[in-house]
Structure formats: C-alpha cells, structure tokens
Symmetry: C2
Subunit: 355 residues, 2 copies
DNA sequence: CCCTTTATATAAAACGTGTTACAACTCCAA
DNA sequence: TTGGAGTTGTAACACGTTTTATATAAAGGG
C-alpha cells in the first residue's frame, strides 16, 4: 500500500507523468501507445513495460491535446429536420453502427426547416471541428464546408456532396401498379411538403410512371401536405398525423370522386385514414390508402398500412460508410450517387376498387 | 485587390495572424475578444480595431486549443436507451432548447439496454471531455464520472445525481379513478420492462393507489411487457407495438375476466388494442384501454387513446437547466429531486364497463 | 582504424489558445 | 529628484499531445 505517490489516486495522469514513472521520454511512450510506424525500432520489452504501465495507471490521452495536434475530432455532424421516428431514428440506427465501429461520435443538429438554422448549424459545427457532415433529408445545395459531406435523401446538386437516394421511380411503380391491378383508376395523391427534397422527386416519378402505365393524373385530386390551411411554419411535428388529416379533409370537401390515395408518408396516411373514417368512408372498402416508409407501427394500425418500405437503416449505413471513407482519404475521387431499392409491403389498407 | 496576403483567402486565420495584422500582441487581442476583466484598461479605440479586424478576417478561435486551455468542451453527453419518438424525441426537444441557448451541443449515445454499453459509454464520453451527462430513462446507480449528472426518469440513488421524475402516484391516481368511475373493477395491468426504471416506480404507485381507492389487484391480471415469449434481449424496438401485442395475446389465452387494461405506454397500448381486436373484442365496448405518454399519434389511432400525458418536453428543459447550472457552478449544492405533474387525457379507448 | 549502419531513445518544436507576471511610459505630488 | 499610481500594453508560459530531427552507443564492414 505504501507506494508513495501511486497509492494516492492521480487526479489525472498525463503523458509526462507516465513517462516520468517509466523513466522514459514522452516521445517513446507516445510512439508505443499509438503503434506508430517509427516505433518499430523499440524493443518488445520496452513496449510491454509501457503498455502495462499505461493500463495500470489508467492513462487516457487528453482528447483536446490530441485533436489539436492531429486536427481531427473523431466526430461528425448530423444535420436533420427533426428527430422523427419515421425517418431520423431508422436512418441513425444504421449510421451509429458504422460510426461506433470507427470510434466516431456525432453531434445532432435539428433545423426544424428554419432557413437560418440550416445555414447556421454547419458553420457552428465546423467551428466544433467536426470531420464531416451527414445531411438527412435536408436541402443542401449551397452548403460550403471544408470537410466531406454525404447527403441522404437530399438530392444535392453540390459539387462535393455524395448523394444517397431512394429509387423513387421504382417505388412509385410498385405502388401504382399495385393500385392499378386492384382496379383503381381515379387515384388521389398527397404530395410531400415543399421543403422536403424527396417531395419533388417523388412527384416527378409519379408523373412519369402514370404516363408509362397509362394512368390519368387529375390535378383536382392532387393535394399537398403543406397547404390546406396548414404549413411547415405552423410547427412541423413529423409524428403528428394532423399533417395528413387536414389535407384529406380539404379534399373530401371538394370531391369524393376517387377510390385510392397515395400518401407521402405513413404518418400522413394515418391522418388521412382518420379523416376518411370521420367522413363516414371505409378503408379499404371505399378508399384504398398507400403510405410510404413502413414505420414500425404501420403493421399495427387499424387497418394495417399498405406502404412502400424505404431501406432507411441501410441508407444510413451506406452513408456513414462513404463519409468515413472520404474522411480517411480526403483526396479520393467523389463516389457517384448511390441509389437504394424500395419494397412494397401489402397490408389491409388497400383492396379492390369499388364498382 | 492587391492587398498582398490578405487578398488570398487565408486557409484559416488564427490569433497570431490576427495579432500581426493588427500590430498588437496576441494577449491584447485575446483579452479584448474574450471580454476579459483584465481588459478593462484597454482603450475603446483599440478594442474597436480588434473587434472590427476579427470580424473582417473572419477569425474563429480554434475549438481544440480553447478547450484544451479552459478544459471544458461546451458539450454534454446524452445517454438514452434508444431514439424513440415516444420518449427520447420529446424529452430532447426541451433539452435542445436549453442547450443551444447556452451554446452547448450534445453527443448522443444509445445503449439499447446492453449492460456493457451502459458502462462503456460514460467512460468514452468522459474521454471526449463532455462537461456533463444527461441520463434519459437509464439505470445509473453506479455511474462514476467526474462531471455533473442529471437523470430524467431514472430514479437514481447516486449521491451526485440530480433526479427529474414524474409524479407516478398522481399519474396512477388519475388513470385508476377514471376507470373506477366508469365502473371498472377488474382491471388488468401491463407492467413495463424490468430494465426501465419507471416500471418499478409505476407499479409501486399502482399498488398504493389501488389500496387507497379500495381496488383489488388480481395477480392473474398482471402481465409484463418483457415476458410472454418476448424480452428486451430479442431486440427492443421502442416504437414496435409488438411489445404490447404479445403479452396481451398471452393474457387473453388465459382469461377474459377483466374489463380494462392499463398499459405501460402508448405503443404497448396500440399493440394491445390490436390483439384485442384480433380476438374479436371491441375497444372500448368490451375492454377499455389506457396508455401512457400521450405520443403525438395517440389522438389519431382508431380508437384514439385515453392516456396519461407526461410533460416530457418540460422534463427535458428542466433537466438541461439544472445540468447547465451545475456545470457553471461546480461547487453549488446538489438540488433536490424535481417532481413533475402528469395529466390524464381522455379519448375514445375508454368507456363504461360492460355489465 | 575509420566510417557507416543499426538499435534505442530523446530534446525540442509545433498545434492555437488563455493567462500571469511584468515592462515601459506618462503624470503628478512630495 | 523621486517615488507612487495609473495607462497601455507585451513576453513567456501552460495546456497535453504528436512528430521531426537528432543523439549516443554498439556492431559491422572495409
């Protein structure tokens, strides 16, 4: 017990103390602990001594000193609209797998679709010296940061941004041919909010596929989530089915001449179903409803949701992989856009079109 | 344009360059920019020159150097089981408000209820030099870190942890008197998973309140989320109503002699309702269901959920406030436990007990 | 015997701040 | 003249790493 200084718990032991204790120089200790290539010449015996002492004294290199020297933080910034379960959570489950495997942590910044925050957060995180950015579902055409950027579902046109996107054409094809084969011809569409990048690409795919399968698009049957007396500015709660309830209600007040509706996401679909039910219509008896995303509770609603599943976890994983590669090798050529495949999940909310 | 060095974009301008440009010492510049008390003697004219140049040259103090010197990171670690919308997202909306106001960012670490991660993450984040910890819904009795800790819904017994908890007695009282006044006498309970701290406290409150209102608790009507052929180890998806579906199913196979069930959370309630429906029972016609949390979609289910609302955002806000105070003043006395009030929200899933 | 190589290790610089102690200069009264 | 007090600043260190360049002794080659 009488080990002198060592028996008293060292507030924190740093490299200098460790070196003094070992009667070696800081250089030697540092080289050994970092497995530096120039440490090859150090004999095994010395290395063992160093490692053993580091463990015994519970040496932890100071994060700031190390980062200052190496100018990298081992952390990335994640920019997202919100912390929704429908999107954020599932993408992040993939992201986290990759990041922790590489000893990376992440800062989250939610911009809530506010323009100033979308511009401010990247700057603030650059000041925090993040090594890279992950953009989730966030418009990013003029992002200008000195580190690699990977965008998921952002369709960024920026020069140095790697895009990870869903194959919207395939997604829409699956949904519409499903409805078409059930006999639906008058199909309504609930488009996504203008702010969300996917909205535009989804809609373009809808127009294209409609033409391909010879389906007529009636402008009167096209509604938007961010209209009908509600907009993103009123405070967008990604998990509030209200976003689908109100537009659906508005459409029903104008016309009931349709037999199906394709919603921008599952939450909106839930709201839409509630609105239909409140109007005395049955789903799928009178109206079939298709959602998007396949959130975890989609199978448990009444009726359970037919929906297009996005491989969000895989998209997150892939995005993080690419980002880490680009961080590790800053000079590597920019990988091209990465396109992921959707999957239609058929449940109770769709059925044959009524006569 | 021919300004010499200044016309070429400075890769990054640091204090030395700024000082050279101003023909002042780094000390002076630093003192001015930090509004240091010992800068009182510096004349206003000089200060203005410094500030103006700093803005013009877009000077940003190096985060690592500054943190190394001041040994604080302006970031906190958030430890949570997962990124669920029911809990995490809502608490964090309050937390973020406070943190960003104080120029703090946060690292998120999800332990997925794995013992090793619950122990490892605090250590890893301490190495990252976080200035404090926020524990969400996470058992933390033996957390040992050199920085302040605030626990939300964790009921920690640790000496240096500030607890923020819901008033479970009041919550249970509201729910049970509601059911009781509707005529329910045989009430089933779906208890939370053993791993979640609230589970135990909720159950204790249930036993106490039952006694107070003279309600008999039948052990045969008490089921747990983490039993009935399903456990946390199978992979806990906080938004998967499956967690409520299976236990409900198991109970129904044994008995139907009850008229109401009080579920641990809304997600479980959704699963339970689905199981009841799949067994040919109607909600609330045959069975009334009460949830907990009041998640955003609770009002949009069919039937919409009667539930006990937790003021999660407020709890997050309060927790972050306390944490920031404790960080700013490390010697201040530990504030006592903070108790928040719940609110019963009555919707469609509860009704009069059948005869 | 001299010169090079190898093995083992180290001193010192660098990263960019914040801060402590002190220097020069002026003014003013004793 | 001198000493004290204010004014306006600066030199130098500390924070804890990583890395570059270098030192010393022993071994080996001619």
């Amino acid at each position: 017990m009488a080990k002198g200084k060592l028996s008293t718990p060292p507030g924190h032991v740093n490299l200098r103390m460790l070196a003094e204790h070992l009667e070696l120089s800081q250089t030697t200790v540092s080289l050994v602990l970092n497995n530096s290539p120039s440490a090859k010449s150090i004999p095994q015996e010395t290395r063992d001594r160093v490692v053993e002492a580091a463990n015994r004294l519970n040496y932890r290199p100071n994060y700031f000193a190390r980062s200052l020297r190496q100018s990298r933080s081992m952390s990335v910034g994640v920019l997202a609209p919100d912390l929704s379960e429908g999107y954020f959570t599932r993408v992040m489950s993939g992201v986290v797998q990759e990041l922790t495997g590489a000893h990376y942590f992440y800062f989250t910044a939610c911009h809530d679709w506010k323009k100033d925050l979308i511009e401010k957060y990247p700057r603030m995180l650059v000041e925090r010296a993040v090594d890279g950015f992950l953009l989730l579902n966030t418009p990013s055409d003029n992002i200008d940061v000195p580190v690699p950027v990977v965008a998921i579902s952002a369709h960024s046109a920026s020069e140095n941004v790697t895009n990870i996107v869903l194959d919207h054409h395939q997604a829409v094809q699956q949904a519409l041919t499903h409805l078409y084969s059930l006999g639906h011809r008058r199909i309504a569409f609930m488009r996504g909010p203008r702010a969300i990048p996917d909205s535009e690409f989804r809609w373009e795919a809808i127009q294209q596929v409609a033409q391909e399968i010879n389906l007529k698009l009636d402008p009167a049957l096209s509604i938007r989530i961010d209209s009908a007396g509600w907009s993103m500015k009123d405070g967008y709660h990604p998990m509030a089915p209200e976003i689908g309830y109100k537009p659906m209600q508005a459409l029903l007040e104008k016309t009931r001449d349709f037999t199906a509706i394709f919603c921008f996401n599952d939450i909106a679909a839930v709201g839409a179903i509630r609105a239909l039910r409140d109007s005395g219509l049955s789903v799928p008896g009178d109206i079939s409803v298709v959602g998007f995303d396949d959130i975890l509770s989609a199978a448990y609603y009444t009726p359970s949701l037919t929906t297009v599943r996005q491989p969000l976890m895989e998209m997150g994983k892939r995005g993080a992989q690419v980002l880490l590669e680009r961080i590790a090798n800053r000079e590597a050529p920019l990988p091209p856009e990465i396109i992921m495949a959707p999957e239609l999940v058929i449940r109770e909310s769709t059925g044959p079109a009524p006569q």
